[in-house]
Symmetry: none
Subunit: 197 residues, 4 copies
DNA sequence: AATGAATGAGGTTTCATTCAT
DNA sequence: TATGAATGAAACCTCATTCAT
């Protein structure tokens, strides 16, 4: 009721409002969110959306960048730290943190990584790359066994992702975290292949 | 006058033709397949499709059931076999087999498990259940360590699924299988938790 | 008032209804006509339009083909006729006929030949080609002078087109026809170049 | 801090900058040019455009006036010259000049004369009026035959326009000019109607 | 006088589903 | 049982014009 007032904002502020509106909706409804929904949530006209995002995919790309930046900021790699690193603990800690982070952003993850958008992206697969870097670092420190880093990182990350989804869907978070940490410990434990039957 | 012959088939036969046409197309084109495509491939009219499948989702459900049945048939649980089972080898063999099975059906998997359809299903998660049953059986035979069967099965299955996708997308199949088998061996190896740092 | 009845027609009949509706509107409003207008005029749903014409351009292409076919049918080339042809009279007659034909279809002509659609077409320029064929035929019969057929046909056709537009816009039809016939007679009259100062 | 300097110009100067920017773009891209493009090229804000031109059509009207003025300045009527005028040569010269002038401004011509804008204008048809004045003058000097000046001017101008378009589109300029000059010579040649079969 | 953020009606196209035949 | 013509609700995107600053 009452005509919507035309609020004039600085471009970055307006763009941010739209992205945040989109994130709220994506979080709640995942892939199903449409431009129409976002502009209603953000309280702007349809044209305003396309003023800041030439296409829907550009919005998703922006959300994706923000998500990755947020993740990077929250859980920086311990590589740079001086002194010996307790790699098993680091990885276990990251795993728990990732589950909490990703399960709280399940809808966004779905829209970004399990949609047509994902197919169109030539994903740098940052998360997997990160994980395989950690595995290599741990191997160099002789904290981890001689597993093949890239495929193993891919497999473990799939587990991480699935765990987050399960937690978001209502699974027991603590059991999930425990299982994941056990899995990772065993997967990366030092020891020769033949010691594992 | 060139009027196409309307073949009158027994309902199950007609339904089967449609499902098989759908499977061929889903295999090739995944989520992108439309009703239009299926009826053309099956050589039936559009209305006929909805005669046998009240909605598109019902078709996918049927495809899903068949896929699971096929998997069950191809890789029956070794539980029933008499005599001692070499659990590690069984699991390793199943892993390789599953990758080959699923990577050859990547399009179907995408349409079934990574689409809006998947969301609407209250998946019984048969495959995960199967895997956790195997883990339990191995544990009873003291071939596997004391991991939590359900979550571990979920995580390992996520890895299996991702491995199949990667192979379908062109990754090195043998490296993938090797990494997966190593992961599973280590994950399920006997031994107390404290032996894994 | 009252829900629109769903009339089921044979595809050709329905397609024809849509084309004819489009022609009526194009005739009246030229380039301004939109899909929305056509479906309202034809009394069909929007989807029905795209059932028969994959895109708006396909409709225009169909209208174009019909227009050219109609023109060809109405004014067949006299080339095939036995016996000597009175070329000047033939051309004069065609000119008058073309003006009447095209001025009665001005809106359609605009939509087809003076719009973005025209730019997208690699026009075979049928009308100009026809005219230059006539000029060549008349030259072979020594009824016309030694003008360059192609460019001359292009120029004369531009005159024809403009004349039709002027008549459609309200100009004196008879004066226009007379001027055009005079122009053509003089343009094609036998005689060497130097006889024209 | 990098804030762009707002140049305060006399209104006519600012308006001129916009028009010239528009002309450059129209020349290059014809009908496709948008307000957005013009303001970027002119280096002004969008609102400024509408300060000087109440609507897009007003810009086009201004461009049109300038185009006609430029044409008038470049090729003044020889009417005012003392002494006998070689009318055929004058017209032939004008024809060649017009083709070169117009083909070099094809994009502008398209935007002005073959667009929705053209429809909305009640064109004074200056160019045609000019041409018919020349024909009358030549007739008074008994250099031209007894053709109807207005319609003939309209038809010949259509030819001129089409020739320019063809040349801009890549046709052989010299052949086009020659054909046009021949056409005009023959169209206006002295002689009674009955001498042309 | 000048800016540029904001608007929103309007345009084409897609496709699961319906229903007259 | 079978057909396939018909539907219409979305979906994304454009751009001349407005107006708060």
């Amino acid at each position: 009721m009452g005509k919507p007032v035309r609020r004039r904002l600085r471009p970055e502020a307006r763009k941010l409002e739209i992205v945040e509106a989109a994130e709220r909706l994506l979080q709640a409804h995942g892939r199903r969110v449409r431009v129409e929904d976002v502009v209603r949530e953000a309280g702007v006209a349809k044209g305003t959306f396309f003023l800041y995002f030439p296409s829907w995919d550009d919005l998703l790309a922006t959300v994706r960048e923000r998500l990755i930046a947020e993740l990077d900021a929250a859980y920086p790699l311990p590589t740079e730290v001086d002194g010996p690193v307790d790699w098993p603990s680091v990885v276990a800690g990251l795993a728990a943190a990732y589950i909490d982070f990703a399960s709280a952003r399940q809808g966004i993850g779905q829209a970004l990584f399990h949609s047509d958008f994902a197919e169109r992206q030539t994903s740098a697969d940052n998360a997997v790359t990160r994980l395989s870097a950690i595995i290599r670092a741990g191997q160099e420190a002789e904290a981890f066994g001689p597993v093949d880093p890239e495929p193993t990182a891919l497999l473990l990350f799939a587990g991480l992702d699935e765990a987050a989804r399960a937690v978001a869907a209502g699974a027991d978070r603590d059991a999930m975290v425990a299982a994941l940490q056990t899995l990772i410990r065993r997967a990366l434990a030092p020891g020769k292949p033949e010691e594992f039957p």
